[in-house]
Symmetry: C2
Subunit: 175 residues, 2 copies
Protein backbone atom coordinates (compact mmCIF):
# COMPACT_ATOMS: atom_id res chain seq x y z
CA UNK A 1 0.00 0.00 0.00
CA UNK A 2 2.81 2.40 0.84
CA UNK A 3 4.47 1.77 -2.53
CA UNK A 4 1.17 2.35 -4.36
CA UNK A 5 0.47 5.50 -2.37
CA UNK A 6 3.92 6.71 -3.43
CA UNK A 7 2.80 6.19 -7.05
CA UNK A 8 5.08 3.23 -7.85
CA UNK A 9 3.66 1.37 -10.91
CA UNK A 10 2.60 -2.26 -10.37
CA UNK A 11 5.18 -3.40 -12.93
CA UNK A 12 7.97 -2.13 -10.64
CA UNK A 13 6.59 -3.83 -7.52
CA UNK A 14 8.28 -7.18 -7.03
CA UNK A 15 7.92 -9.51 -4.05
CA UNK A 16 11.50 -8.58 -3.20
CA UNK A 17 10.68 -4.87 -3.14
CA UNK A 18 7.57 -5.47 -1.02
CA UNK A 19 9.65 -7.46 1.46
CA UNK A 20 12.33 -4.78 1.57
CA UNK A 21 9.74 -1.99 2.10
CA UNK A 22 8.07 -4.00 4.86
CA UNK A 23 11.41 -4.80 6.46
CA UNK A 24 10.90 -8.57 6.30
CA UNK A 25 12.39 -11.47 4.35
CA UNK A 26 10.91 -12.72 1.06
CA UNK A 27 9.98 -16.01 2.75
CA UNK A 28 7.63 -14.11 5.10
CA UNK A 29 5.74 -12.72 2.08
CA UNK A 30 5.63 -16.08 0.30
CA UNK A 31 4.16 -17.70 3.41
CA UNK A 32 0.94 -15.69 2.78
CA UNK A 33 0.90 -15.11 -0.97
CA UNK A 34 2.05 -17.43 -3.72
CA UNK A 35 3.02 -14.51 -5.97
CA UNK A 36 2.51 -10.87 -6.99
CA UNK A 37 -0.87 -11.63 -8.60
CA UNK A 38 -2.44 -12.94 -5.38
CA UNK A 39 -0.85 -10.15 -3.33
CA UNK A 40 -2.25 -7.40 -5.62
CA UNK A 41 -5.71 -8.99 -5.48
CA UNK A 42 -5.61 -8.81 -1.67
CA UNK A 43 -4.43 -5.19 -1.85
CA UNK A 44 -7.49 -4.40 -4.00
CA UNK A 45 -9.78 -6.29 -1.67
CA UNK A 46 -8.40 -4.28 1.26
CA UNK A 47 -8.84 -0.96 -0.57
CA UNK A 48 -12.30 -1.72 -1.96
CA UNK A 49 -15.40 -1.72 0.25
CA UNK A 50 -16.08 -5.12 1.91
CA UNK A 51 -18.27 -7.68 0.16
CA UNK A 52 -21.98 -7.69 0.93
CA UNK A 53 -23.62 -9.19 4.01
CA UNK A 54 -26.68 -11.00 2.66
CA UNK A 55 -29.66 -10.31 4.93
CA UNK A 56 -31.31 -13.61 3.88
CA UNK A 57 -34.79 -12.16 4.42
CA UNK A 58 -35.80 -12.57 0.74
CA UNK A 59 -34.26 -13.00 -2.70
CA UNK A 60 -35.11 -9.35 -3.39
CA UNK A 61 -33.25 -8.17 -0.27
CA UNK A 62 -30.22 -10.36 -1.05
CA UNK A 63 -30.10 -9.08 -4.65
CA UNK A 64 -30.29 -5.47 -3.46
CA UNK A 65 -27.38 -6.16 -1.07
CA UNK A 66 -25.34 -7.65 -3.94
CA UNK A 67 -26.02 -4.72 -6.28
CA UNK A 68 -25.45 -2.18 -3.51
CA UNK A 69 -21.98 -3.71 -2.91
CA UNK A 70 -21.33 -3.35 -6.66
CA UNK A 71 -22.44 0.32 -6.52
CA UNK A 72 -20.13 1.01 -3.56
CA UNK A 73 -17.19 -0.57 -5.38
CA UNK A 74 -18.01 1.72 -8.33
CA UNK A 75 -18.03 4.77 -6.06
CA UNK A 76 -14.70 3.66 -4.51
CA UNK A 77 -13.13 3.32 -7.96
CA UNK A 78 -14.19 6.90 -8.69
CA UNK A 79 -13.05 8.34 -5.35
CA UNK A 80 -9.91 6.29 -4.58
CA UNK A 81 -6.94 6.97 -6.82
CA UNK A 82 -5.29 3.74 -5.62
CA UNK A 83 -8.24 1.50 -6.50
CA UNK A 84 -8.59 3.26 -9.85
CA UNK A 85 -4.91 2.98 -10.75
CA UNK A 86 -4.42 -0.59 -9.56
CA UNK A 87 -7.51 -1.73 -11.51
CA UNK A 88 -6.36 0.09 -14.67
CA UNK A 89 -2.90 -1.45 -14.44
CA UNK A 90 -4.27 -4.92 -13.76
CA UNK A 91 -6.48 -4.62 -16.84
CA UNK A 92 -3.47 -4.07 -19.06
CA UNK A 93 -1.71 -7.23 -17.80
CA UNK A 94 -3.48 -10.43 -18.91
CA UNK A 95 -1.92 -12.40 -16.03
CA UNK A 96 -2.99 -9.91 -13.33
CA UNK A 97 -6.43 -9.49 -14.91
CA UNK A 98 -6.96 -13.24 -14.86
CA UNK A 99 -5.94 -13.41 -11.19
CA UNK A 100 -8.40 -10.61 -10.40
CA UNK A 101 -11.16 -12.53 -12.15
CA UNK A 102 -10.42 -15.82 -10.41
CA UNK A 103 -9.98 -14.28 -6.95
CA UNK A 104 -12.48 -11.40 -6.93
CA UNK A 105 -14.99 -11.41 -9.81
CA UNK A 106 -15.87 -15.10 -10.01
CA UNK A 107 -16.61 -15.58 -6.28
CA UNK A 108 -19.01 -12.59 -6.47
CA UNK A 109 -20.66 -14.12 -9.52
CA UNK A 110 -21.06 -17.48 -7.80
CA UNK A 111 -22.71 -15.72 -4.85
CA UNK A 112 -25.28 -14.12 -7.18
CA UNK A 113 -25.99 -17.45 -8.89
CA UNK A 114 -26.50 -19.06 -5.49
CA UNK A 115 -28.98 -16.35 -4.41
CA UNK A 116 -30.88 -16.76 -7.69
CA UNK A 117 -30.98 -20.54 -7.41
CA UNK A 118 -32.46 -20.25 -3.90
CA UNK A 119 -34.91 -17.66 -5.29
CA UNK A 120 -36.13 -20.18 -7.85
CA UNK A 121 -36.46 -22.87 -5.14
CA UNK A 122 -38.45 -20.49 -2.91
CA UNK A 123 -40.75 -19.46 -5.77
CA UNK A 124 -39.58 -15.83 -5.84
CA UNK A 125 -37.94 -16.12 -9.28
CA UNK A 126 -39.40 -17.75 -12.39
CA UNK A 127 -37.89 -21.08 -13.30
CA UNK A 128 -36.92 -22.16 -16.80
CA UNK A 129 -34.47 -19.30 -17.34
CA UNK A 130 -30.70 -19.62 -17.47
CA UNK A 131 -29.20 -18.41 -14.15
CA UNK A 132 -26.19 -16.85 -15.91
CA UNK A 133 -28.54 -14.71 -18.01
CA UNK A 134 -30.62 -13.70 -14.98
CA UNK A 135 -27.41 -12.66 -13.20
CA UNK A 136 -26.54 -10.45 -16.21
CA UNK A 137 -30.01 -8.86 -16.15
CA UNK A 138 -29.37 -7.62 -12.60
CA UNK A 139 -25.63 -6.87 -12.69
CA UNK A 140 -25.43 -5.64 -16.32
CA UNK A 141 -27.17 -2.29 -15.79
CA UNK A 142 -25.06 -1.59 -12.68
CA UNK A 143 -21.82 -2.66 -14.41
CA UNK A 144 -22.54 -0.36 -17.36
CA UNK A 145 -22.78 2.57 -14.96
CA UNK A 146 -19.91 1.69 -12.62
CA UNK A 147 -17.35 0.37 -15.14
CA UNK A 148 -18.20 1.60 -18.64
CA UNK A 149 -19.86 5.01 -18.20
CA UNK A 150 -17.82 6.56 -15.43
CA UNK A 151 -19.86 9.79 -15.53
CA UNK A 152 -23.22 7.98 -15.09
CA UNK A 153 -25.37 8.67 -12.03
CA UNK A 154 -25.07 6.22 -9.13
CA UNK A 155 -27.92 7.44 -6.90
CA UNK A 156 -28.46 5.95 -3.42
CA UNK A 157 -31.54 3.96 -4.46
CA UNK A 158 -30.07 2.58 -7.71
CA UNK A 159 -29.67 -1.02 -6.48
CA UNK A 160 -33.24 -1.12 -5.20
CA UNK A 161 -34.73 0.44 -8.38
CA UNK A 162 -32.86 -2.00 -10.67
CA UNK A 163 -33.81 -5.08 -8.62
CA UNK A 164 -37.48 -4.12 -8.31
CA UNK A 165 -37.82 -3.15 -11.98
CA UNK A 166 -36.19 -6.34 -13.26
CA UNK A 167 -38.32 -8.43 -10.90
CA UNK A 168 -41.61 -6.73 -11.85
CA UNK A 169 -40.93 -6.15 -15.55
CA UNK A 170 -41.63 -3.10 -17.68
CA UNK A 171 -45.13 -3.90 -18.94
CA UNK A 172 -47.78 -1.58 -17.49
CA UNK A 173 -49.47 -3.28 -14.54
CA UNK A 174 -52.65 -5.12 -15.46
CA UNK A 175 -51.64 -5.69 -19.10
CA UNK B 1 -8.52 0.31 -44.44
CA UNK B 2 -5.45 -0.76 -46.38
CA UNK B 3 -3.15 0.75 -43.74
CA UNK B 4 -5.08 -0.99 -40.93
CA UNK B 5 -5.05 -4.29 -42.80
CA UNK B 6 -1.27 -3.88 -43.06
CA UNK B 7 -1.19 -3.57 -39.27
CA UNK B 8 -0.20 0.09 -39.09
CA UNK B 9 -1.08 1.43 -35.60
CA UNK B 10 -3.65 4.26 -35.48
CA UNK B 11 -1.06 6.56 -33.87
CA UNK B 12 1.00 6.37 -37.06
CA UNK B 13 -1.91 7.11 -39.39
CA UNK B 14 -2.02 10.81 -40.17
CA UNK B 15 -4.31 12.55 -42.66
CA UNK B 16 -1.20 13.10 -44.76
CA UNK B 17 -0.40 9.38 -44.80
CA UNK B 18 -3.99 8.47 -45.68
CA UNK B 19 -3.92 10.95 -48.57
CA UNK B 20 -0.58 9.60 -49.80
CA UNK B 21 -1.80 5.97 -49.59
CA UNK B 22 -4.98 6.87 -51.46
CA UNK B 23 -3.05 8.86 -54.06
CA UNK B 24 -4.98 12.08 -53.46
CA UNK B 25 -4.22 15.47 -51.93
CA UNK B 26 -4.85 16.26 -48.25
CA UNK B 27 -7.58 18.74 -49.27
CA UNK B 28 -9.59 15.87 -50.78
CA UNK B 29 -9.59 14.08 -47.41
CA UNK B 30 -10.45 17.24 -45.46
CA UNK B 31 -13.42 17.87 -47.75
CA UNK B 32 -15.11 14.77 -46.21
CA UNK B 33 -13.61 14.50 -42.73
CA UNK B 34 -12.67 17.32 -40.37
CA UNK B 35 -9.85 15.23 -38.84
CA UNK B 36 -8.44 11.81 -37.96
CA UNK B 37 -11.05 11.24 -35.23
CA UNK B 38 -14.01 11.52 -37.61
CA UNK B 39 -12.25 9.47 -40.28
CA UNK B 40 -11.51 6.59 -37.87
CA UNK B 41 -15.14 6.62 -36.69
CA UNK B 42 -16.28 6.18 -40.29
CA UNK B 43 -13.75 3.38 -40.79
CA UNK B 44 -15.26 1.59 -37.79
CA UNK B 45 -18.79 2.19 -39.05
CA UNK B 46 -17.82 0.70 -42.41
CA UNK B 47 -16.21 -2.36 -40.79
CA UNK B 48 -18.98 -2.96 -38.24
CA UNK B 49 -22.36 -4.39 -39.25
CA UNK B 50 -24.88 -1.69 -40.29
CA UNK B 51 -27.16 -0.11 -37.70
CA UNK B 52 -30.60 -1.65 -37.13
CA UNK B 53 -33.65 -1.19 -39.32
CA UNK B 54 -36.48 -0.66 -36.84
CA UNK B 55 -39.54 -2.70 -37.95
CA UNK B 56 -41.87 -0.27 -36.13
CA UNK B 57 -44.42 -3.05 -35.51
CA UNK B 58 -44.14 -2.80 -31.71
CA UNK B 59 -41.83 -1.50 -29.01
CA UNK B 60 -40.82 -5.11 -28.35
CA UNK B 61 -39.85 -5.68 -32.00
CA UNK B 62 -37.89 -2.41 -32.17
CA UNK B 63 -36.03 -3.24 -28.94
CA UNK B 64 -35.15 -6.69 -30.27
CA UNK B 65 -33.80 -5.08 -33.47
CA UNK B 66 -31.68 -2.66 -31.39
CA UNK B 67 -30.25 -5.42 -29.20
CA UNK B 68 -29.71 -7.72 -32.18
CA UNK B 69 -27.61 -4.98 -33.84
CA UNK B 70 -25.60 -4.75 -30.62
CA UNK B 71 -25.10 -8.54 -30.62
CA UNK B 72 -23.91 -8.47 -34.25
CA UNK B 73 -21.42 -5.71 -33.46
CA UNK B 74 -20.18 -7.88 -30.59
CA UNK B 75 -19.74 -10.85 -32.93
CA UNK B 76 -17.91 -8.62 -35.46
CA UNK B 77 -15.52 -7.40 -32.76
CA UNK B 78 -14.72 -11.03 -31.99
CA UNK B 79 -14.31 -12.13 -35.60
CA UNK B 80 -12.77 -9.05 -37.24
CA UNK B 81 -9.20 -8.27 -36.21
CA UNK B 82 -9.54 -4.77 -37.66
CA UNK B 83 -12.64 -3.86 -35.66
CA UNK B 84 -11.06 -5.36 -32.54
CA UNK B 85 -7.74 -3.53 -32.97
CA UNK B 86 -9.20 -0.17 -33.96
CA UNK B 87 -11.59 -0.25 -31.00
CA UNK B 88 -8.79 -1.21 -28.57
CA UNK B 89 -6.56 1.59 -29.87
CA UNK B 90 -9.39 4.14 -29.76
CA UNK B 91 -10.05 3.21 -26.14
CA UNK B 92 -6.51 4.10 -25.15
CA UNK B 93 -6.74 7.59 -26.69
CA UNK B 94 -9.16 9.86 -24.80
CA UNK B 95 -9.64 12.07 -27.88
CA UNK B 96 -10.48 9.16 -30.22
CA UNK B 97 -12.65 7.49 -27.59
CA UNK B 98 -14.63 10.71 -27.15
CA UNK B 99 -15.11 10.99 -30.93
CA UNK B 100 -16.33 7.37 -31.04
CA UNK B 101 -18.84 8.13 -28.30
CA UNK B 102 -20.14 11.30 -29.92
CA UNK B 103 -20.36 9.80 -33.44
CA UNK B 104 -21.31 6.17 -32.81
CA UNK B 105 -22.42 5.39 -29.24
CA UNK B 106 -24.60 8.42 -28.47
CA UNK B 107 -26.72 8.27 -31.67
CA UNK B 108 -27.47 4.59 -30.87
CA UNK B 109 -28.40 5.56 -27.34
CA UNK B 110 -30.72 8.33 -28.55
CA UNK B 111 -32.43 5.81 -30.86
CA UNK B 112 -33.13 3.49 -27.90
CA UNK B 113 -34.46 6.38 -25.79
CA UNK B 114 -36.75 7.38 -28.68
CA UNK B 115 -38.13 3.82 -29.02
CA UNK B 116 -38.74 3.67 -25.25
CA UNK B 117 -40.45 7.07 -25.20
CA UNK B 118 -42.82 5.92 -27.96
CA UNK B 119 -43.36 2.67 -26.02
CA UNK B 120 -44.51 4.67 -23.00
CA UNK B 121 -46.82 6.77 -25.19
CA UNK B 122 -48.31 3.62 -26.75
CA UNK B 123 -48.83 1.98 -23.35
CA UNK B 124 -46.34 -0.85 -23.99
CA UNK B 125 -43.87 0.34 -21.33
CA UNK B 126 -44.67 1.49 -17.79
CA UNK B 127 -44.43 5.22 -17.21
CA UNK B 128 -42.81 6.85 -14.19
CA UNK B 129 -39.40 5.28 -14.79
CA UNK B 130 -36.30 7.11 -15.97
CA UNK B 131 -35.72 6.37 -19.69
CA UNK B 132 -31.93 6.30 -19.23
CA UNK B 133 -32.30 3.59 -16.61
CA UNK B 134 -34.71 1.57 -18.78
CA UNK B 135 -32.20 1.78 -21.65
CA UNK B 136 -29.51 0.36 -19.32
CA UNK B 137 -31.81 -2.50 -18.26
CA UNK B 138 -32.01 -3.65 -21.91
CA UNK B 139 -28.54 -2.81 -23.20
CA UNK B 140 -26.60 -3.55 -19.96
CA UNK B 141 -26.89 -7.37 -20.10
CA UNK B 142 -25.91 -7.38 -23.80
CA UNK B 143 -23.00 -4.97 -23.25
CA UNK B 144 -21.65 -7.12 -20.44
CA UNK B 145 -21.52 -10.09 -22.80
CA UNK B 146 -20.26 -8.29 -25.92
CA UNK B 147 -17.76 -5.86 -24.37
CA UNK B 148 -16.76 -7.05 -20.91
CA UNK B 149 -16.91 -10.87 -20.99
CA UNK B 150 -15.51 -11.67 -24.39
CA UNK B 151 -15.93 -15.43 -23.83
CA UNK B 152 -19.64 -15.17 -22.94
CA UNK B 153 -22.24 -16.92 -25.08
CA UNK B 154 -24.01 -14.79 -27.72
CA UNK B 155 -26.71 -17.24 -28.89
CA UNK B 156 -28.99 -16.35 -31.83
CA UNK B 157 -32.02 -15.71 -29.64
CA UNK B 158 -30.20 -13.61 -26.99
CA UNK B 159 -31.76 -10.26 -28.02
CA UNK B 160 -35.26 -11.73 -27.93
CA UNK B 161 -34.76 -13.48 -24.58
CA UNK B 162 -33.36 -10.34 -22.91
CA UNK B 163 -36.14 -8.07 -24.24
CA UNK B 164 -38.96 -10.47 -23.31
CA UNK B 165 -37.56 -11.20 -19.84
CA UNK B 166 -37.03 -7.53 -18.99
CA UNK B 167 -40.52 -6.67 -20.27
CA UNK B 168 -42.25 -9.49 -18.36
CA UNK B 169 -40.14 -9.46 -15.20
CA UNK B 170 -38.74 -12.34 -13.20
CA UNK B 171 -41.57 -12.95 -10.74
CA UNK B 172 -43.35 -16.24 -11.34
CA UNK B 173 -46.51 -15.59 -13.37
CA UNK B 174 -49.62 -15.17 -11.28
CA UNK B 175 -47.77 -13.93 -8.21
Amino acid sequence: MKLLEDGVPLAEISIERVARTAGVGKATIYRRWSGREELFCDVLRAAEPPGPELPGTSTRDDLIALLEAQRRRGLATRSSAIVHNVLAQMKSSPKLWKAYHVNVVEPQRRLTTEVLRRGQEDGEIRTGLDLELIADLFHGPMLVRTVMRRDADLPDDLAEVIVDTVLEGLRPSGS
